[in-house]
């Protein structure tokens, strides 16, 4: 089936043939921009299959194919999606060794995620770029649609409003609508950040203004459990430190909607005595502190000394969500694997990856005891270029008086031996202050210095000088090896690679293979046997314009972006 649109050189619509896309309703007009927007509402896609839309503008034709898939049978009732932001296989390898220890080539123990019943590899990509960010990658996972960098739950258009772009319905919205399932998000970031927001949010920009809107969208969407940081995006603009542009007190609005609100780990514990139906836990103004600062370098916590960890938040969310006999979907994010790889801080990133694996372990144990019919998927949104290539003799490195001496302190191949991290208290987290440590670096970086040793304060490897250039921060690793910049900007950036996918429980078998990460959406749908066509008249990915207000019969929108060609924004519904 195919649809064809034609535009002239002025961007005016000249011809429409929607062929097999029968039953269209309204053609809506132009946007106040150079490009033209054509929106069909009331289109029905009669069956699963490929739908092609061709847009011709001034002699250039672009084509987009949208596939509505057949539903699959599945027996899981619940889905837990674990995301370690920026996690890669080399990071898992390093964190596992640091956590469990290795003797004569043999690990003392495995990670919890190592026990996966199925493993896959997922490509990451964007509509508009080879590279990806957390917004559009987790949007792919949550909607089945590939989006543009910074966008979530939408196809980016050219209209000035960054919140009105054509929407794709999220997995959470579909299961709320068709099954009345509960939905939760747990994160160590500001909870309006890209990875958690992909569960419910719709917009093309993950920046500040949209984040304040995503907080409102979460309330409208009725996300049942929310835990993370981000108080400053909930405070009205009359409060000092607010990052909202309006005077809405979102704490008060969530409270008014019936949410139990907690702001410390102690309050969270107390609230769990009698399980609330809906819970909002906001524990810091911005992101939560990382495990290493919460547990070792506690001077970095400031006023926020009573933050829960990812394990406690995960188990609390599961207990609350499991009250719904229709099942639940919980997304759990270890945000600071990514947030600490950006400033090249290997110890803070790997510690949060270890904590993440403990959260996976806690969920596995919880599911075994409480809900064996739970599909658990563990993956990343995108990668970072971190690898270990040897070890560093710390005493020798620090005693060196020149770079040649520092380089000579790095052991490679058989000269690497083993790191000497210890774990005296047996909590699974190493003491990073060791005599021989990982020679681990991120392969893209600003100008900076690297001494491979844990920093008592969060790293700022690069600073911005008076002309806006990023230069080595003289206060960070002053005795380190100088590294020349190979990226613009002041931090490491995301890298291109397939990310690992691990799965446990009913439906795990679907995870095997190599695919785009948008397929994880379909794996989750298959896991619970989601059949929206039978359950609520859906073929596949429905996208109401306003999810919270009930299903909108708008079905297919096509945006022709002027001479740049067009792309399809598809939605389907079968009555």
């Amino acid at each position: 089936m195919a649809a064809t649109l034609g535009f002239n050189a002025d961007g005016e619509l000249t011809g429409v043939d929607i062929g097999g896309l029968a039953q269209f309703g309204i053609l809506a007009g132009a946007l106040p921009t150079k490009s033209q927007s054509v929106i069909w509402r009331g289109v029905m896609l009669p069956e699963a299959g490929d739908y092609t839309v061709e847009v011709t503008a001034a002699g250039t034709t672009r084509e987009a194919v949208w596939t509505a898939r057949e539903p699959m049978a599945g027996t899981a009732r619940n889905v837990i999606l674990f995301i370690a932001d920026g996690m890669t296989v080399p990071m898992i390898t390093a964190a596992r060794i640091a956590s469990r220890g290795i003797v004569q080539g043999t690990l003392n123990d495995n990670f919890y995620m190592d026990g996966a019943e199925a493993i896959g590899l997922a490509h990451t990509s964007s509509v508009d770029s080879l590279m990806a960010d957390s917004a559009n990658t987790l949007s792919s996972v949550n909607t089945g649609h590939i989006g543009s960098v910074n966008s979530t739950g939408s196809y980016s258009d050219t209209s000035p409003n960054r919140l009105d772009d054509p929407r794709t319905e999220t997995f959470a919205e579909i299961i709320q609508r068709t099954r009345g399932m509960s939905v939760g998000v747990v994160t160590t970031s500001d909870w309006s950040d890209a990875t958690p927001a992909a569960v419910w949010a719709h917009g093309r920009d993950r920046g500040d203004a949209n984040r304040a809107a995503y907080v409102v969208q979460a309330l409208d969407a009725g996300i049942d459990v929310i835990m993370g940081g981000g108080a400053r995006r909930m405070l009205p603009n009359t409060a000092e430190g607010s990052r909202r542009s309006d005077d809405r007190d979102m704490f008060a609005e969530f409270e008014g909607a019936g949410y139990t609100i907690v702001t410390t780990a102690t309050e969270l514990d107390a609230a769990m005595g009698e399980l609330p139906e809906q819970l909002l836990g906001v524990f810091t103004p911005s992101d939560l502190n990382v495990w290493l600062d919460r547990n070792v370098y506690t001077d970095n916590l400031g006023d926020f000394t009573d933050q829960p960890g990812l394990v406690d938040m995960t188990v609390a969310a599961l207990d609350i969500l499991n009250q719904n006999e229709n099942g639940f979907y919980l997304e759990v994010e270890a945000a600071s694997v990514d947030k600490q790889m950006h400033p090249l801080d290997q110890e803070r990133a790997l510690s949060d990856l270890i904590e993440f694996d403990f959260a996976v372990g806690a969920a596995l144990e919880w599911a075994a005891e409480n809900a064996p019919d739970t599909l658990i998927i563990v993956t990343a949104d995108h990668g970072h270029g971190y690898e270990v290539y040897g070890t560093v003799d710390v005493e020798r490195f620090n005693a060196a008086t020149d770079d040649a001496g520092r380089i000579a302190a790095i052991g490679i191949y058989n000269g690497a031996g083993y790191p000497t991290y210890t774990d005296e208290d047996g909590d699974g987290f190493p003491n990073w202050e060791a005599s021989r440590v990982f020679a681990g670096t991120v392969n893209n970086h600003p100008a900076y210095s690297e001494d491979f040793q844990v920093s008592p304060i969060p790293r700022a490897p690069s600073i911005t000088n008076e002309s806006g250039a990023n230069i080595d921060n003289p206060d960070d690793d002053p005795n380190g090896l100088p590294m020349n910049a190979n990226v613009p900007g002041g931090s490491g950036v995301h890298t291109l690679q397939d990310v690992p996918v691990f799965a446990f429980g009913p439906g795990a078998e679907n995870i095997m293979g190599i695919y785009h990460q948008r397929d994880i959406f379909f794996h989750m749908a298959a896991g619970i046997g989601l059949n929206p066509a039978a359950e609520d008249g859906m073929i596949s990915v429905a996208a109401p314009e306003t999810a919270a207000a009930g299903f909108d019969p708008s079905l297919l929108a096509i945006v022709g972006a002027g001479l740049a060609g067009g792309f399809v924004i598809g939605r389907a519904r079968r009555k």
């Binding site: 910074n150 993950r206 500040d208 600073i463 008076e466 806006g468 900007g489």
Partner: protein
């Protein structure tokens, strides 16, 4: 009284960062102040102390143009009771953003729980002394020292964040050197402990070295009319000194 629409800081990131692509600008505003002179400085701001709430002698100003005109014409205290017009990023004559910012301070009357008395005519303050904490349900808690210094001459040290563009009336004073250019990066976030420094002259230079700023402190939320930059703490600087 707080009728201002708050323009979110990161929106500024959408503006091209001129300073990030140009090479360097000369430092035009720096003067060296001998330490003994600091204690003798009067509160030398040429602007009126705008924290004195006067009877509204001028009608509420509805538009940015009107505010700028009034500011330029009268250089008097304005009583502003209108929403900040958006979008910002307008081109104001040099110095007017400072005048408008000073005028909007009239709307802000932070109250100290316990007024702190100071012996010095120019009081040193550090970023660590700005806030007593952060109530997650209510926001930052300004310290009694900070609030008590509202309208007083202060001196404080810090770093200049990379400026948005060379000819801005202000720069951002930060506790530590930033590892990023918040003006250049969409989505980058300013730390809470910053101060906007409005200069008396019509040009700012830039430096990566620590600086000391002396001038009148103003406390309370204000939106810079030229860029939309939101600030809680401003210094209307008379002097800036390079420390290196």
């Amino acid at each position: 009284m707080r009728s201002f629409s708050r323009m979110l800081v990161a929106l500024i990131g959408l503006i091209a960062c001129a300073a990030c692509s140009n090479s360097s600008t000369s430092i035009q505003q720096i003067t060296s102040i001998p330490p003994e002179a600091l204690t003798a400085l009067p509160t030398a701001s040429p602007l009126p102390n705008t924290d004195v709430v006067e009877a509204a002698t001028s009608a509420p100003v509805e538009t940015l143009a009107g505010m700028a005109a009034l500011a330029a014409a009268s250089r008097q205290t304005l009583t502003v009771d209108a929403p900040t017009p958006l979008p910002l990023n307008t081109q104001l004559p040099p110095g007017d953003a400072r005048v408008i910012a000073a005028a909007t301070d009239t709307a802000m009357q932070p109250t100290a729980r316990s007024i702190v008395a100071f012996d010095e005519s120019v009081v040193p303050i550090t970023f660590d002394e700005f806030y007593d904490g952060y109530n997650l349900r209510a926001g930052l808690i300004m310290s009694d020292k900070l609030v008590s210094l509202d309208g007083r001459a202060v001196t404080m040290e810090g770093y200049m964040a990379p400026p948005l563009k060379a000819e801005l009336d202000y720069f951002v004073l930060t506790r530590i050197r930033l590892s990023f250019c918040p003006f250049c990066t969409t989505g980058a976030d300013w730390p809470d402990d910053i101060a906007l420094v409005y200069l008396t002259g019509d040009a700012t230079g830039a430096t990566e070295h620590p600086i000391r700023v002396t001038g009148r402190l103003e406390v309370g939320t204000s939106v810079d009319q030229e860029t939309g930059m939101v600030s809680l703490v401003r210094i209307y600087a008379d002097q800036m000194e390079l420390l290196s």
